[in-house]
Amino acid sequence: MSPLTALRRMAAPVVFGTLLLIAWQLFVDLRQIPRYLLPSPSAIGEQLGANGSDIIGTAWASGRNAVIGLLVGIVAALLAAVVGMWIPLVQRLLTPLASAVAAMPIVALAPVLSIMFSATSDLPRRIIVAIVAFFPVFVTTVRGLTRIDPVHAELMHSYAATSWATTRVVRLPGAVPYVFNGIRVAASLAVISAVVAEYFGGLQSGVGSRITSAASNTAYARAWAYVVAAIALGLLFYLAALGVERLATRGRGAEHT
């Protein structure tokens, strides 16, 4: 992609976003919407500036929880998927369990875990992130490991290859795009759950705690400023995961041959 087309592709959403912000600002100013109902973008911008260092600090704290939880979740999911591939019983046990965990909302889990651990610990948040990140990675990895091109399977059979050789040469590399697909989904979920987990008390170190405390003090513009920080953090995670995915699957072409 040439820089020009890249610029052109980015231009439309940037222009649209800017127009949206201007409309928002005009709406708040002209209709004289009270600040506690909807703060204007300029007010939010002011708060972003005024709380700059705290925003970076809290985003760092939330981001660290998200990264640690994400990594633990990914490693656990990969191990579970590989063990499940070797021992079908494990997979039969794990798959419904993983689905059940995925169906459990973090808002239900967060208060319980916060109480279980001391209020000065980041551990409950990391556990929540790990649980949330586990599912998409587990599901896509299992799919990637079980899906094998029949021609590849027959070739390996014709080579009299052992099942470990088939796993090493065909299944594991074949699963890579699936794994990174799951990681990309998990990365976005990790930030969401790390921030939401902070809504339920515990350490007041992250973006989520700042949002709740600002909102309860009716400092809505400040709350919005931290929301912007949470969005930026989520984007950062998504882009990082996307970059790693591109790196890991480069040279394969768009589709399998």
Partner: protein, 280 residues
């Protein structure tokens, strides 16, 4: 694994009273894919299997490759069971889909069977070089499969099948997905390769001209149940001598007609032009 290894008079492939019945799932009727098949293929011989869908030509090839086991009868490859021949890597195989591993380079794809046999790295590299030269892809050793055309991918698959210098090459419609021009060029290349390597070839196709051009003998099959109906000797002379003019030779047309009539001898056949569309 040199041609001198085999005992004189021992066929490359010997099928005796082979029958293959597939038990259909879900309680529906079982299907007799092949019945009453007797066939000998000599070392170095090029034999095509031709017939309409469901005649069992692919099944026959898969029995030789030990990808299926016969319900009754015996399949022998170089005097061994098909299973032992597979374990000993006595044959190379290529399918309609090239089946290259997309994350490996062309070279790494060709080296795959050698790698699985724990051939030393330097030897693998050298063998891959030979094979790449043989199929005219030396410049593409470091390319990925998706960067190659369909014909080039199929060449890589053939090089991979020849990696262990097999005395038998099994090919299941390897040119079925290629355009006509590429296909004819690939046929010429395959003839040269089989001539130089001296390996026997079993070649499944649904194209009459292709079967005739390539083969010493064309095995004509018919469906319901799959069986051999006729074996047409072609006799276009030495493989290395066949060229594009051969396709306009009187002997070529005579053999095409003979195969076509053999196929027509059974009125439920769909094939007339040799361009039938078939998946397997």
């Amino acid at each position: 694994m040199t041609p001198g290894e085999q005992r004189p008079g021992e066929p490359a492939v010997a099928l005796r009273g082979v029958e293959k019945v597939f038990d259909a799932a879900g309680g529906s009727e079982s299907v007799t894919a092949l019945t009453d098949v007797d066939l000998d293929i000599a070392p170095g011989e090029f034999v095509s299997l031709i017939g309409p869908s469901g005649c069992g030509k692919s099944t026959l090839l898969r029995l030789v490759a030990d990808l299926e086991t016969p319900t009754t009868g015996t399949v022998q490859v170089f005097g061994k069971s098909a299973r032992q021949a597979r374990l000993d890597q006595d044959y190379g195989i290529a399918f309609q889909s090239a089946g290259l591993l997309p994350w490996r380079t062309v070279r790494a794809n060709i080296e795959l069977p050698l790698e699985l046999r724990r051939v030393a790295k330097a030897r693998r590299w050298q063998r891959a070089d030979e094979l790449l030269t043989m199929v005219g892809l030396s410049d593409f050793a470091a390319s990925r499969p998706h960067q190659l055309s369909g014909g080039m991918q199929q060449r890589v698959a053939i090089a991979r099948a020849l990696a262990e210098q097999p005395r038998l090459l099994l090919m299941d419609e390897p040119f079925g997905a290629l355009d006509e021009m590429t296909r004819e060029r690939m046929q010429g290349e395959l003839l040269g390769l089989s001539q130089r390597t001296g390996c026997a070839v079993v070649f499944v196709t649904h194209s009459i001209p292709e079967a005739v051009y390539l083969s010493d003998r064309v095995v004509v099959m018919s469906p319901r149940p799959g069986r051999i109906t006729e074996i047409v000797p072609v006799g276009l002379g030495e493989r290395g001598r066949r060229d594009e003019d051969t396709r306009e030779d009187a002997a070529f047309f005579a053999a095409v007609t003979a195969v076509r009539e053999a196929l027509r001898g059974h009125p439920d056949h769909a094939i007339r032009t040799g361009r039938g569309v078939e998946k397997r």
